[in-house]
């Protein structure tokens, strides 16, 4: 009886939280399919036959460079994610597997990155990029996001690397497998669920980031979608249809990537390795 009540309590809290998290998104998506009058007339009503309108999407997709914005966002996010995962997994393996001079210090240095937000270094980053002639390029964004994502990814992946049975590595060494191949063909496949987790953690903040595109990019061809949406928000008139439609579209890629990785999150790949 008691456990039933507490289970109910837990579910009530989780449901409330889910509602809080999902409601704004739902509101955005719903209103993106409504006419301007309906958005203001009844903001929380779902679109009906009378109020349904695709004008927002027409405008958003009609804007000349929306394709560019999407392309930029996807490139920046995926390339950053790729580097964060590759370098993160390699560093996690190296730091747990090899004890070399300064390895503890290095691990400590990297964990500082988990605690200190990278935005504190915005000015320095800006100067650095300018000096390197990288300002207003996607490369600048990618570099910043890799630096931002690495510490946490190393931190999480190290935990998982620790759990891989040491016998596997020893068996591979006896088998004459070169160290790099041990990492890529034995360890990395076993890290897949962990890598999926880190991937989700990594891409969401990159995709949603407004700050670094704002300070590091200045032309339409390098803006990301999150920043690009802002141009529909005018000083005097705001094209709410277009804003909501663009925002709705911006959610789609993140959801797709999440769905792809969430399968991996659950899968226990190590079953059968030992015992």
């Amino acid at each position: 009886m008691r456990s039933k009540i507490s289970a109910f309590g837990v579910h009530a809290v989780l449901t409330a939280y889910t509602f809080l998290a999902v409601a704004p998104i739902l509101l955005v998506v719903m209103n993106s399919f409504k006419s301007r009058a309906a958005i203001f007339g009844a903001p929380v009503a779902p679109p009906s036959a009378a109020t349904f309108s695709l004008i927002g999407y027409n405008k958003a997709l009609g804007a000349a460079h929306v394709g560019w914005l999407f392309f930029n966002s996807i490139v920046v996010t995926l390339v950053s994610m790729g580097f964060v995962l590759l370098l993160g997994a390699m560093a996690a393996w190296a730091l747990t597997e090899y004890k070399f001079r300064g390895s503890t210090l290095l691990a400590l240095f990297l964990s500082i990155g988990v605690m200190v937000p990278i935005r504190l270094g915005s000015i320095a980053i800006l100067t650095m990029m300018r000096n390197a002639h990288l300002n207003d390029t996607l490369i600048a964004l990618i570099l910043v996001y890799v630096a931002q994502g690495l510490p946490l990814s190393i931190f999480i992946l190290s935990e998982f690397v620790e759990q891989i049975p040491k016998d596997l590595r020893d068996a591979a060494r006896c088998d004459g497998v070169p160290e790099t191949r041990i990492f890529f063909e034995v360890i990395a496949p076993l890290l897949r669920p962990a890598i999926a987790t880190v991937a989700v953690f990594t891409i969401v903040p990159i995709w949603n980031d407004l700050w670094f595109p704002l300070i590091l990019t200045s032309s339409d061809t390098t803006h990301t979608i999150t920043l690009g949406v802002q141009q529909f928000l005018g000083q005097y008139v705001t094209d709410w249809n277009a804003v909501l439609a663009a925002l709705s579209l911006a959610i789609v890629p993140v959801v797709v990537i999440y769905v792809i990785f969430s399968r991996q999150l659950i899968r226990g790949v190590t079953a059968g390795a030992v015992k």
Partner: protein
């Protein structure tokens, strides 16, 4: 195929000396079993031979090659782990060929070796399965197969059977013995299990606290243990030990006395300890039987009897509160509360001096 020689091998982790001056020479095709209590350094020694851990000092030779500083892959060894350590994301065939790829071996040769190993280990039907789709015994056979396809000079096994259930352990043990005969390869095998050690080994190495306590053929260890440790370690239930004192040394005999047994005369023309020396007498439970009037003889009350069918173990409290275990064969085991008189023939008595070394009494 090759010999294996270990010279003055030491290993320390920080301040902890794990292996101390290990000397061992293993001949070509020999099956050597390492036994010893938990933590005595068996796995560490195996890992040194494999090259998975560096030595602190000393040398390892495989055949004529000095391998002390070589990588595991260059030593021509193959190791089978207690946890099997199969690559979980590869099927059985790939598990076996994965390592071979890197030696630049031709596909045809790999296929031949896998087919041969699979036939030997009855894995033919399982080649396309993943490890998680195999039973424990099958996984262990795959692990052995992965070692076989490397055609190594030396096979290393670290407690390969200890995750299997009792019945499977017996059958896999027999298979390993057959495999050894078939391949004629040099094998070093670590185990906790006495039966495995006694049945598989050409020679057993008993280790204690990082040292080699004795090396010998299984029956030599059983009949002439070199010291108290080996005497107590080999044999199950363990040997009984009695405190004794040298009372008298005559020509051709010594008289021994103690709390637990009747003083008796032991025929011995050479006997090192002096009169008055404290020694220990060891008698195996299976050698305690009906007494002879002049030999070793003890009396005690039976406290508990374990009946296993064919044999029974009687736990006896002898003189001086000594605990004695006797193995009694057949149906006529005593029952608890009874007083029994047991004896043992001279040749089944093991004598050890104060330092625990065997006393040669002849």
């Amino acid at each position: 195929m090759a010999t294996l020689r270990i010279d003055k091998l030491n290993k320390a982790y920080g301040d902890v000396q794990v292996l101390k001056d290990i000397e061992l020479a293993i001949s070509d095709g020999e099956f050597v079993v390492l036994v010893g209590p938990s933590g005595c350094g068996k796995s560490t020694l195996l890992r040194m031979i494999a090259g998975l851990d560096g030595v602190t000092s000393g040398d390892i030779h495989i055949g004529e090659r000095r391998v002390t500083n070589l990588e595991p892959s260059q030593r021509k060894i193959a190791m089978v782990f207690q946890s099997y350590a199969l690559y979980p994301h590869m099927n059985v065939r790939k598990n076996m060929t994965f390592g071979l790829k890197f030696s630049g071996m031709k596909q045809a040769e790999m296929d031949r070796r896998v087919a041969e190993a699979a036939r030997m280990l009855r894995l033919d039907q399982l080649l396309e399965r993943r490890p998680r789709e195999l039973s424990g015994g099958q996984r262990q056979r795959v692990a052995i197969g992965r070692a076989i396809v490397r055609e190594p000079d030396v096979f290393l096994f670290d407690e390969p059977l200890s995750n299997l259930d009792a019945a499977l352990r017996v059958s896999t043990r027999v298979e390993i013995a057959k495999l050894h005969r078939l391949l004629g390869a040099t094998m070093v095998y670590v185990t906790h299990d006495q039966t495995e050690a006694m049945t598989l080994a050409d020679r057993i190495v008993v280790m204690n606290q990082g040292r080699v306590a004795q090396v010998g053929r299984p029956l030599d260890l059983y009949y002439t243990p070199a010291n108290l440790f080996v005497a107590g370690f080999i044999g199950s239930p363990a040997m009984n030990f009695f405190d004794a004192r040298v009372e008298k040394k005559g020509p051709g005999s010594v008289t021994l006395s103690g709390m637990a047994f009747k003083p008796f005369e032991l025929a011995a023309t050479s006997f090192a300890p002096a009169v008055g020396a404290k020694i220990k007498i060891g008698v195996r439970p299976e050698h305690l039987g009906s007494p002879t009037p002049t030999g070793f003889q003890l009396a005690g009350a039976v406290e508990l009897v374990e009946r296993l069918g064919e044999t029974s173990y009687a736990y006896i409290r002898g003189g001086g509160e000594t605990q004695v275990v006797a193995e009694i064969r057949g149906r006529d085991a005593p029952s608890a509360g009874q007083t029994v008189i047991l004896g043992a023939p001279d040749r089944e008595l093991h004598l050890f001096d104060e330092a625990g070394e065997r006393i040669a009494a002849a």
